[in-house]
Structures are given as structure tokens and as C-alpha cells.
Amino acid sequence: MTLTHYAFSSSYFMSFLGLIFYRKHLLSALLCLEAMMLILFISLCLWGLILASTVFSAGPMILLAFSACEASAGLALLVAMARTHGTDRLKNLSLLRC
């Protein structure tokens, strides 16, 4: 595996770990999700450039559009949570549970 492969795989994996193992704020999970999208965007761009093919040229833009949709959905959830619970801390959801 080349250096590029290793760099992208490991940074994607790190962001994934950051998404899964976030502690307090839901916002940090959303940030990691954004980081994953960014890495995918860069790797799609580089993939098209390295293979010198024009077929995949539109790929990054489509990914960007979908990423924007997903980010807005995540933020809407965050805002809804902030409206009902006051913060976006995850522990607030289960405070009144025994």
C-alpha cells in the first residue's frame, strides 16, 4: 500500500473512531462525520486525478452535495435536541432514567 493509501485509510479510520467514541457533546460526533466526508472528498478528487480519467470528475461534487444534506440533517437533530433538552450533551437524554 502506498503512502497515500495509508494516509487516507488511517485518517478515515481515525475520524470514524472519533465518531464512535465521542464523550460529551453530540457536536463532536457531527464534526467527525464532517471530517470523514472531507477525507472522502479529497480521496475521490485524487483518485480521479491519479487515474487520469474524466469519468469520475463529477464524483466529488456529488459527494459534496450529499454531504451538505447530511450535515444539515445532523444539525437539525442537534438543534431539536438543544431545544428540548437545553444542551447537546448526550447524558441529558438518559438523566431521568433509573
Partner: protein, 611 residues
């Protein structure tokens, strides 16, 4: 760059980063939380241990060794000093061992020092010590090694004198610094000679120029450095005095890590020593003298920590003997296995001392096998591993060393002394176990004896597993550098075992003499046989009914009641199912993180099966 090389070097740099981060975290002006030590430092060392397993497994799988030269520090026309890290067999194997032992010791220290107001500073010192030790171990040039060397020396001074209100502790710390400094003169002499004559401090260049120079002077300097740091005879008194420090300090510095720095230096630079018979003989004789002298001193000590300290000194002498035999790999193997059981012995003694309300005299302990079963079992396991019981950790290294010693064409006097010291090891180990855990209690009755705290018991259990398995794991996975002599006469093969058993039996005999009284007048025994009717009624009328009754009690009480009905019968179902039930119901609370965790496991499985 090749994939596995990148993984190995980045993992080891990650280890450095993980260990340095808590130290950098103390630079902020906000006061640290009271749980900082336990949360940040211990988890940092634990994480670093797990990360350092990756290079270990890569090394075992592929035999990959990496030398990284990172930064050019000072470069003149003729002489370069770089930051250069060498990850070969020695550092890749030693780093996980040191981190495992340190993790256990830090967890123990969070219990032992929990009502010390400066506990956070204590943990910070231990962490700085650990970083200096890893710098020493991974150094590829003498300058970096010297940085690590001085670092461990300074932290040793600060940690021995931790309870600085006590005059003995200050004296001991000063002794440690003074004796280490004398050794440092040797190291600086060697470094200066190398800078002038060999034009470099990088180890690769040093090893390639050894054939063309007479290396006696720098090698003598290195032996002096090892004598100072590893407490060989002549510069040895600082090690027993260093027991004035807290028990975690004794366990980490003065048993597993710092004192092996001198031996490690000689192991690292062993290609320079291979062809110099004078220096090898000096190492051999010095090591033999050290091991027998300190083992003799350990025979009649009364303080439990001093006995273990002298035991450490004796094992260091044994390592020096191995270097004198031109077997650096065996010395390194002994370093690794010794770290486990010696740290465990110190942790057991710390647990005992704390339970008996700071009593350190073994004459005032006793009967702890019933009261502290886990601790005394671990003490026994550690002592057995120390004496070289077959197939525990110490056996693989110690027996290999004594076999190499017996089959070599070197000094027979050194062999005799080493065998004598091996039997002494058995004697003082039995003495510790006998006075601490056997017999009747000799301490005050209101001591807080308990084994309730998992911060103490988990490190002991972990180190016990290490003491049992470490020797086997290391020898089966890593091939030695030199072929060992495998054929020898049966007496020589069993020499170590024979002298150990002899020592054990002697010690048992001597220990049982403490509870007997010599008769003032010998009794005539000739007519006793017929007087007592040939002992027939007294044996048959007492022995057989007693055996029957005991068997009945055993069957009814232990076998049926305790074993079948409680452990393996109905109660086993409850005791196994209850944790399962509670953990399952805890998992299914509906918390988002659980779902993420399952997602993570699925991803890992998918990656592992697809790649």
C-alpha cells in the same frame, strides 16, 4: 516507505507522544484535579502499553528492526549529533515489558499513595522517569543514551527522597546520586574516548570500527558506568539504602527498570566487548562477586524491602556474569523476566506493609497466608520464579545462564560463586515466605488487614500472570542471537536445580530450628520399642480412626457441601448467570453509544475479513 516499517516506527513514536502528553498537560496554570494521577497518567501508560504491542507483534512476525534518524541536532564538520532512535530486538521487547510493569505499579501506587497530598507530583515524577528510561532504551547514539541515563538518575534521586522530612531518606537519596555520579565518570570517559578516536557517537559507526582499535579504555569506562548504575560490588550500597523511598519507587526504579540500565548499556554495546577478553573477565568476576556478596547480605536481613533489594542486587550480579560470558541476549532475557517477578515481590511487600500498618520487619509478621491469601500466594509465585523453578518465568533465563556458565571455558571460580549465590537465593526466598506467610501471627491485632481494593489486587494478578508466562512467551517467540550449547553432562544440566533444592532444604531445616529446643540430656531410646508394645496400638488405635474421621469430614463438608452444592451445583448457576444478566440489562438501556460500539465491531470484522 514500506508499510510495516511505517507502522512500526509510527507506533513507537505514538508511544512517546502518549507518554509525554500528561506531562505537557501539567504546564497549564489551572490546578490539576485530584484524580488526575489515576485518570490521566495510568491510562496513558496503559494505552502506551497496548500501542507498543503492535511493534512487538510485527517484530515477532517479520523480524523487522528499524533505525530512525529524526533530527540533526548539532553538526560540525567532523562530528554529528542526531536524534536517532533504534528499534531493534532489545528496545522492541523491553518497551512493552517496562510499560506493562509500570502500568501495574501505577495502579498500585494510586492505592498506596492515595492519602499523600502530593500524589499528582509523584505520578508526574514516575512518568518522567519512564520517558527517560524509554529514551535510554531506544537510543541509537551515546548522547541520547546519556540523556536518558542522567534522566533516570535524577528522577531516582527525587523519588528516593520523596519523604524528605526523614533524614534517612535524604541520606539515601544523596548516596544514590553520589554512587551514580562515580559511575557516570566512566560513561563520560567512554564517550570522550569515542568522540576523539572513533569520531562518532552513533552506534553503527562504533560497531564498525571496533576491529581496528584497542577498546580497553572505553570498555573499562563502560564497566564502571554499569557498576555505578547497576549496583555492582564497590558501588553497591546505594541500592539497599534506596528502599527509603515509597514502595512503588522501589518496585519501578530499583528492581525492574533503572538498575538494569547499566546492564542494558553493556548489552547494547556488546559488539564492542566481544573481542576483549580482559573486560569480559572483569565483568565475569565482578558480577560473580556481586551476586554472592549481596546474596550473603540478604540472608540475615530483617526488613522485607531490604531483602528484596539485595535480591535485586544479586540478580544484577548474575546479569553481569552473563555479559562476562559474552551472552548479551541471555542477560537481556533475564532483564525482562526479572522485571515481572521482582516488581510483583515489591508490590506484595507494599500490600503487606500497608496492611500491617507500616510494619516492615519480618520478625513481626507471620501467618499472613490465612489473612492475605492472594498476596501471600503472589509472594510465593514471585519467590518461586526468582529461584528458577522449572517453567516459571525465571527458569528460562536463569537456567540458560547457568547452563552457559557451566559449559563455558571460563573462570571456574566465578561458576562456583554463582552456584553458591543461586542456593542463597533459595534460602533467603524461603526465609521471606516462611516468616511472612507461615506460622502464627506476630503482629499487633488491630491492623487493617484486607485485600478488598481492586487497585492492589489487579496489578498483583497481572504481574503474577506475567511471572508465570513471560519466560515462556519470550523464548518461544524470539530466537536468540547466538546458538546455545545444548549438550552437557547431566550433573551440569541439573546443577542449578540441585543447588536450589539444596538451599531450599537447608533453609527449611534452619527455619524449623527456630521453634525447637535442644534437649539438655539425651534420652535412652533402646527400650522404648518393646515398652510401647512395638508402637502398634498407638498407631493403629489413633491413626486409622483419625484418618476415617478426617476423610468423613472432608467428604461431607468440603466435597459435598462446599464443592458440589455451592461451587458446581445450584450456586454456580446463580453466580455465573447473575453477572451475565446484569451486564446484558445494562447494555440494553438504549444508550446511543452501545449502538455505535456494535457498529464499530462490525466495521472491524468487515475490515479484517476483507483485507
Amino acid at each position: 516507505m514500506h508499510f510495516t516499517t511505517m507502522i512500526l516506527s509510527s507506533s513507537l513514536l505514538t508511544v512517546f507522544l502518549i507518554l509525554t502528553l500528561p506531562i505537557l498537560g501539567t504546564l497549564n496554570p489551572n490546578p490539576t484535579k485530584s484524580q488526575w494521577a489515576k485518570e490521566n497518567v495510568k491510562t496513558a501508560v496503559k494505552t502506551a502499553f497496548f500501542v507498543s504491542l503492535i511493534p512487538l507483534f510485527i517484530f515477532i512476525n517479520e523480524g523487522l528492526e528499524v533505525i530512525m534518524t529524526n533530527w540533526e541536532w548539532m553538526n560540525t564538520l567532523m562530528f554529528n549529533i542526531n536524534i536517532s532512535l533504534k528499534f531493534d530486538l532489545y528496545s522492541v521487547v523491553f518497551t512493552p515489558v517496562a510499560l506493562y510493569v509500570t502500568w501495574s505499579i501505577l495502579e498500585f501506587a494510586s492505592w498506596y499513595m492515595h492519602n499523600d497530598p502530593n500524589m499528582n507530583r509523584f505520578f508526574k515524577y514516575l512518568l518522567i522517569f519512564l520517558i527517560a528510561m524509554i529514551i535510554l532504551v531506544t537510543a541509537n547514539n551515546m548522547f541520547q543514551l546519556f540523556i536518558g541515563w542522567e534522566g533516570v538518575g535524577i528522577m531516582s534521586f527525587l523519588l528516593i527522597g520523596w519523604w524528605s522530612g526523614r533524614a534517612d531518606a535524604n541520606t539515601a537519596a544523596l548516596q544514590a546520586v553520589a554512587y551514580n555520579r562515580v559511575g557516570d565518570i566512566g560513561l563520560i570517559l567512554a564517550m570522550a574516548w569515542m568522540a576523539v578516536n572513533l569520531n562518532s557517537w552513533e552506534m553503527q559507526q562504533l560497531f564498525s570500527l571496533t576491529a581496528s582499535h584497542d577498546l580497553t579504555l572505553p570498555l573499562l569506562g563502560l564497566v564502571l558506568a554499569a557498576t555505578g548504575k547497576s549496583a555492582q560490588f564497590g558501588l553497591h550500597p546505594w541500592l539497599p539504602s534506596a528502599m527509603e523511598g515509597p514502595t512503588p519507587v522501589s518496585a519501578l526504579l530499583h528492581s525492574s527498570t533503572m538498575v538494569v540500565a547499566g546492564i542494558f548499556l553493556l548489552v547494547r554495546l556488546s559488539p564492542m566487548m566481544e573481542n576483549n577478553p580482559l573486560v569480559l573477565s572483569i565483568c565475569l568476576c565482578l558480577g560473580a562477586l556481586t551476586t554472592v556478596f549481596t546474596a550473603t547480605c540478604a540472608l540475615t536481613q530483617n526488613d522485607i524491602k531490604k531483602i528484596i533489594a539485595f535480591s535485586t542486587s544479586s540478580q544484577l550480579g548474575l546479569m553481569m556474569v552473563t555479559i562476562g560470558l559474552n551472552q548479551p541476549y541471555l542477560a537481556f532475557l533475564h532483564i525482562c523476566t526479572h522485571a515481572f517477578f521482582k516488581a510483583m515481590l515489591f508490590l506484595c511487600s507494599g500490600s503487606i506493609i500497608h496492611s500491617l500498618n507500616d510494619e516492615q520487619d519480618i520478625g513481626k509478621m507471620g501467618g499472613l497466608h490465612q489473612l492475605l491469601p492472594l498476596t501471600s500466594s503472589c509472594l510465593t509465585i514471585g519467590s518461586l520464579a526468582l529461584t528458577g523453578t522449572p517453567f516459571l518465568a525465571g527458569f528460562f533465563s536463569k537456567d540458560a545462564i547457568i547452563e552457559a556458565l557451566s559449559t563455558s571455558y571460563l573462570n571456574a571460580w566465578a561458576l562456583v560463586l554463582t552456584l553458591l549465590a543461586t542456593s542463597f537465593t533459595a534460602i533467603y526466598s524461603l526465609r521471606v515466605v516462611f516468616f511472612v506467610s507461615m506460622g502464627h501471627p506476630r503482629f499487633n491485632s488491630l491492623s487493617p488487614i484486607n485485600e478488598n481494593n481492586p487497585s492492589v489486587m489487579n496489578p498483583l494478578k497481572r504481574l503474577a500472570w506475567g511471572s508465570i508466562l513471560a519466560g515462556l512467551l519470550i523464548t518461544t517467540n524470539i530466537t536468540p542471537m547466538k546458538p546455545l550449547v545444548m549438550t552437557m553432562p547431566l550433573t551440569l544440566k541439573l546443577a542449578a536445580l540441585t543447588v536450589t533444592i539444596t538451599g531450599l532444604l537447608t533453609a527449611l531445616e534452619l527455619a524449623s530450628l527456630t521453634s525447637q529446643q535442644f534437649k539438655t540430656k539425651p534420652l535412652p531410646t533402646t527400650h522404648h520399642f518393646s515398652n510401647m508394645l512395638g508402637y502398634f496400638p498407638s498407631v493403629i488405635h489413633r491413626l486409622i480412626p483419625k484418618a476415617n474421621l478426617v476423610l468423613g469430614q472432608l467428604v461431607a463438608n468440603q466435597t459435598i457441601d462446599q464443592t458440589w452444592l455451592e461451587k458446581t451445583g445450584p450456586k454456580m448457576m446463580t453466580s455465573i448467570n447473575l453477572p451475565l444478566i446484569s451486564s446484558t440489562s445494562n447494555l440494553q438501556q438504549g444508550v446511543i453509544k452501545t449502538y455505535f460500539l456494535m457498529f464499530f465491531f462490525t466495521m472491524i470484522l468487515a475490515i479484517l475479513t476483507l483485507v
